[in-house]
Each structure stands twice: as structure tokens, then as C-alpha cells.
């Protein structure tokens, strides 16, 4: 934490992510008989997102706030990078741990830049280094430079959430605590922020304790999920895939929900499964060849594409007449390589079609996704594969 060495590494030098361990933590609030946390032990590997999830009042926030000593444990120990934090000076410890909360808690009297600079200023960074870091973070969270001089009151809810995350990241902490950081925004913006954050995490690889009460968010964000029940009892601590495939008990099964099979679809992207090759044809190709191609797939149709290999229309039996393929205009349902399977399936059902044309970033044909493929994925072949579901940050790469 020597500012001078950090300076030499540049304002954003990524520090090594930290490991975190909770050992037999007990927390009893004064005046209540039941402990908020009875006996919790938990290990988080460096660079992983550990999601704490569970019903309201089960002790998620309490468990998280123990880590930066916003709450003192009744007994037990907490180790960051193997060293106990119990004898650390709280204010110094907290400056090394990113902190973001649902209510955000931006300072309304400070500009966005000043807000983001809070911890660097506490650490005594010089002005230039702070300015560089603020610039970099504004970039990272996709806010225009001009916003830096605004006040929180002038930002939308989603922008404020982003600033809250940027502020938590400012001093490049090796460990981050996030308590429902996307809890206070509408579902569409929340989805966008989650994706942005996962993409960011793909680069920065922090160790993160992430609190939510939303199991879908947990499945999406977590490398590992700790499901807590009342009294901070750890019901299951596992990867999202394990949780969905093999819930430890009835409580977990209930909490994960009856639709856990469907939830598995949210773990995989279209690009992760084997797509069918598209029977593409172009205007001017011999019809006989097009018919042969269509017949070679279960689809029974050929796919007309333009010069750039972008899909134009399905060609059925009635469309494949004469010598050469001629131009056709028609509808087709497109899904993207980056869509999660759940959304892709929704698109197919919405379009009332069995097949969707999968396109890449440039809109070019990458293959065909069929409802059959998805149901096959749900039924069997997956059991072995889903364990290899990529880490959340990679799912978005």
C-alpha cells in the first residue's frame, strides 16, 4: 500500500486479488436472543465473485459487513490474504476494501469526480494521479468526461449506480464488498449493469463478496453461491451449475425454484452449444444445389444470404423453382451468439418458429439454433457439460 510504488505502476495497476476466509463467525446483536449469524465458515478464492443469497433477514448484510469491520463479530476470525483483520485499524482496513451499497450513498455536495476520488484522497494520492484515475474510471463505467463536473442530483439512477461502483473501485482494492449494488434500479437497466459489471470483472478480476436476495442475479453473477438460511446458516456453497443440478436439500431446492431446469438456460450462451450448420445459398446459385443443401439438414429449408453472408430469408420447396436462386424477401427469427439460451428460446417461442438464425457481432450467419437443440441440452447431454459452465465474466467475453 505504499503510494509511491503504486504510482510507478500507473494509476490503474491491477493489484493481486485477495483471498478471504470467514472462520466460525458468530454474531449476536445486543438485545436479541437468536444470533444473526450462528456459526459461519466460508472461503472465497482470489478473483472470484462469491454471492451471498438467501431470504430477507438471513444475515447476508451482516456477514458482508463483518469483512470490513462495519460490524464486529461476537466471535470467530476473518482472514484477508491469510492475515486476520481483527487487529487492523478499521479506517485503514476499509480503505483497502471496495464498498458499494444499494442506497449508493453518493455525497450530494460533491461532484462525480470528487465522489469517485474519495478513497484515493483519503490515501493521500497526489492530484494528478487522482485526476488520471478518475478519467480512467469514468471511461470504464461508460460515463462521458463532461459528467465528472456534475453533481449526483443531476444523474439518472443507473448512472448513480455506476458511479457508486466506480467509487468502490477507485483505489483498486484487492477485495470488494457489494450489498445489492443493482437493487434499486429497473430490470432493464439492472440487466445492463450486471452485464457491464461482469465484463469489467473479466478485466479486473477482483475478489468480490456480492449480496443479493435475487436467486437469478446470484446465478448470473456468482462464481460460487452461498445460500444462507435464517441465522446465517450455510445451506449450500457451490457453483451455480452445481446448485441447479444438485440442490443440497429441500430449502435450497425451494429457494432455487421449481424452474431450475429453465434457469440452467441462463447459464449458457448460444455460442456455448453445438449449432447446426446453416444451409446457406446466394442469389444466382443453382437451384438443384440449394435443394440438396436444404435436404441435408432437418430444417428442410435453405437460407438465403446476401454478399456479406447476412441472412435474408428462408427458402422453402415452393421458393426453389427454376434454374437459379432468385431474390426473396421474407421473415426470419434471428438470435445472437452472445444471447443466453433462455433469451434465445424466448425469441424462438415469440416468433413461433422451430429454428432461429444465429448471427455474430457483424450480423453474419454463424449457424442455426433449433428448439430441439435446446431441449436436448435441457434433457441429458448437459449433465456432464454444465459443470464446465464458464465463469460469469467469461460468459460475456
Amino acid at each position: 500500500m505504499d503510494p509511491d510504488t503504486a504510482q510507478a505502476e500507473g494509476p490503474s495497476a491491477n493489484r493481486q486479488a485477495a483471498t478471504l476466509e470467514l472462520r466460525n463467525i458468530v454474531k449476536r446483536y445486543p438485545g436479541s436472543d437468536e444470533p444473526a449469524i450462528a456459526d459461519l465458515s466460508l472461503e472465497v478464492a482470489a478473483g472470484e465473485i462469491c454471492v451471498l443469497v438467501g431470504p430477507s433477514g438471513c444475515g447476508k448484510t451482516t456477514a458482508m459487513r463483518l469483512v470490513n469491520r462495519m460490524i464486529e463479530p461476537t466471535s470467530g476470525d476473518i482472514l484477508v490474504n491469510g492475515a486476520s483483520i481483527i487487529d487492523r485499524k478499521p479506517s485503514e482496513l476499509r480503505r483497502e476494501i471496495g464498498y458499494a451499497i444499494q442506497q449508493i450513498g453518493l455525497f450530494p455536495h460533491q461532484t462525480i469526480a470528487e465522489n469517485i476520488a474519495t478513497v484515493p484522497a483519503l490515501l493521500g494520492w497526489d492530484k494528478r494521479r487522482i485526476a488520471e484515475r478518475v478519467d480512467e474510471l469514468m471511461d470504464l463505467i461508460g460515463l462521458e468526461k463532461a459528467m465528472a463536473k456534475r453533481y449526483p442530483g443531476q444523474l439518472s439512477g443507473g448512472q448513480r449506480q455506476r458511479v457508486g461502483v466506480a467509487r468502490a473501485l477507485a483505489a483498486d482494492p484487492p477485495l470488494m464488498l457489494m450489498d445489492e449494488p443493482f437493487g434499486a434500479i429497473d430490470p432493464i437497466n439492472r440487466e445492463r449493469l450486471q452485464n457491464e459489471f461482469l465484463r469489467l470483472q473479466g478485466e479486473i478480476r477482483k475478489t468480490i463478496v456480492f449480496v443479493t436476495h435475487d436467486i437469478d442475479e446470484a446465478i448470473k453473477m456468482g462464481d460460487r453461491i452461498a445460500i444462507l438460511r435464517k441465522g446465517g446458516v450455510l445451506a449450500q456453497y457451490a457453483t451455480p451449475a452445481e446448485l441447479l443440478m444438485a440442490p443440497a436439500d429441500e430449502f435450497v431446492e425451494d429457494f432455487v425454484g421449481a424452474d431450475r431446469a429453465l434457469k440452467r438456460l441462463a447459464l449458457q450462451r448460444v455460442r456455448d452449444i453445438d449449432l447446426w450448420e446453416a444451409p446457406t445459398v446466394r442469389v444466382g446459385d443453382p437451384v438443384s444445389e440449394a435443394r440438396a443443401r436444404a435436404a441435408a439438414t432437418p430444417i428442410g429449408h435453405a437460407l438465403l444470404v446476401d454478399e456479406d453472408n447476412r441472412p435474408v430469408s428462408w427458402l422453402g420447396d415452393g421458393d426453389l423453382i427454376g434454374e437459379r436462386v432468385v431474390h426473396h424477401a421474407g421473415g426470419l427469427t434471428k438470435v445472437e451468439l452472445d444471447d443466453v439460451l433462455r433469451d434465445a428460446l424466448a425469441d424462438l417461442l415469440q416468433g413461433k418458429v422451430m429454428y432461429g438464425v444465429v448471427t455474430d457481432h457483424g450480423g453474419r450467419v454463424a449457424g442455426v439454433l433449433s428448439v430441439e437443440v435446446i431441449s436436448g441440452f435441457l434433457n441429458h447431454q448437459v449433465a456432464g457439460r454444465i459443470d464446465q459452465a464458464p465463469a460469469p465474466a467469461e460468459r460475456l467475453a
Binding site: R95, Y99, Q103, F107, P108, T118, L122, Q154, G164, A168
Partner: protein, 234 residues
């Protein structure tokens, strides 16, 4: 005391609008000729106000800082300053005169005492109204309690503190009209000397209102300049 004071200055009734003046009427001409006589009392009135508001603020601020971390002090301090606020000014002067004597200081002490309650209460309200989330974030990011106070709580409490100071200032301008009783001068003195002369009464009244308005406006302006974040849409 009053008859004695009334003899301090015999108003010169010579000059323009003889008739109007003899009828104790409202005589613009007389006012124009004698406005200079009011300058010294006005300046004294301003001094009384500024000194007692500043002193009141400093004391109330110190009390608020004590009570902020020791909540049990809030009730006794509110009680004590509340009692000061309710003592009639004549009684307070009566108590002070034997100790501090006749003059400016006594007037200031009394006026300061009246200011404490409203300023103290507003500082406490301002601190209490700071959003919990901002304090939690500040602490969670590693500010010490003093840093939270200086960098987050006090700046965010300024609007309510200023509101308290503005009320105190306006009130003090009014109350200072009685300070002459303690021998502290001010605009109350020319007023009492000739209470029946409309020109005199109106002049004093208008000067008091103007003084209060100008001071209030200055405070408002200072607040606007000092708090850019308050000007943005929220």
C-alpha cells in the same frame, strides 16, 4: 430608567414642513433633513446584531459538536437554551446589569442568549438529516468519525444551519431595538425618545426592516455561492 433615557436627546423639530412636524405627522422633508442623525444608531444596531449572531453561532456550534457524539446532552442543552429564549428581555437585562454593567456588552450577551436555541436546534436538525447512506458509505470507505463529520455531515448540514442563522439574524434585528434599555444603543434609542412622532417611528421601522432584509439577503447569497450543489435540479 425610561424617563431618564427620554431626556438623552431632544429631537430638533426645526426645519422643513414645520406644520407637519408640529402635528407629529409623517414628513418626508423632515426625514430627508434628519436622516443623518440615524446613521450612528443604525451602525450600532448592525454591530449589536452581527456580534450577537456570530457569538451565538460559535457557542451553539460548540454545543452542537459536544451533543453530536453524546446524544444525552441534546435534551439538557435544548432545555437550557430554551429557558434563555423565554426569559423576558427586561428581566434578563435586570439580571445582567449588576454583573456586566450598563452598555454594549450587556446588550450583546442578552441578544446572544436569545440566538442559542434556534441556531443549536438547526445545527442538530441539519446533522440528523444527513442521509444515512452517505454516512454509511463514508465510514465504509475508510473515513474516520472526524472525517465523516468534516467532509460529509457538516457540509450537508449547511443549508439548515444557514436557515437557523437567518432566522436568528432577523429576530436579533428586531430584539436589538430593546438593547438601548441596557444602554447598548441601537435604533431603539431614537425610537423611544419620540414615540409619537410618526416621521421618527416610520424612519426607525423602515431602517430596521431594511437592515434585516439586507442581512438576510447577504446570507442567502453567501449560501448560494458556497453551495453549488444546491442549485442543481434534484
Amino acid at each position: 430608567m425610561l424617563p431618564l433615557l427620554a431626556q438623552v436627546k431632544i429631537t430638533d423639530r426645526n426645519g422643513a414642513g414645520q406644520n407637519c412636524v408640529q402635528q407629529d405627522g409623517f414628513c418626508p422633508g423632515w426625514i430627508k433633513d434628519h436622516i443623518g442623525d440615524y446613521v450612528d444608531p443604525l451602525v450600532r444596531h448592525l454591530e449589536l446584531t452581527v456580534v450577537s449572531v456570530v457569538a451565538g453561532f460559535l457557542i451553539a456550534f460548540a454545543l452542537a459538536m459536544l451533543a453530536h457524539r453524546r446524544r444525552w446532552l441534546v435534551a439538557p442543552i435544548t432545555g437550557a437554551t430554551g429557558v434563555m429564549y423565554t426569559i423576558p428581555s427586561l428581566a434578563l437585562f435586570g439580571i445582567l446589569l449588576p454583573i456586566t454593567g450598563f452598555g454594549f456588552v450587556t446588550g450583546c450577551i442578552a441578544l446572544t442568549a436569545y440566538n442559542l436555541l434556534v441556531i443549536f436546534r438547526n445545527i442538530m436538525a441539519g446533522l440528523d438529516n444527513v442521509p444515512e447512506a452517505a454516512k454509511d458509505a463514508a465510514t465504509g470507505m475508510g473515513m474516520t468519525p472526524n472525517q465523516v463529520l468534516r467532509q460529509v455531515e457538516l457540509p450537508l448540514a449547511i443549508p439548515e444551519i444557514v436557515a437557523g442563522v437567518r432566522v436568528a439574524t432577523t429576530t436579533t434585528v428586531g430584539l436589538a431595538a430593546l438593547a438601548f434599555i441596557a444602554g447598548a444603543g441601537g435604533l431603539g434609542e431614537p425610537l423611544i425618545v419620540n414615540q409619537n412622532f410618526k416621521s421618527n417611528v416610520v424612519t426607525v421601522g423602515v431602517l430596521c426592516v431594511l437592515l434585516a432584509a439586507v442581512l438576510d439577503l447577504l446570507l442567502l447569497l453567501a449560501e448560494r455561492l458556497a453551495l453549488p450543489w444546491r442549485r442543481v435540479a434534484r
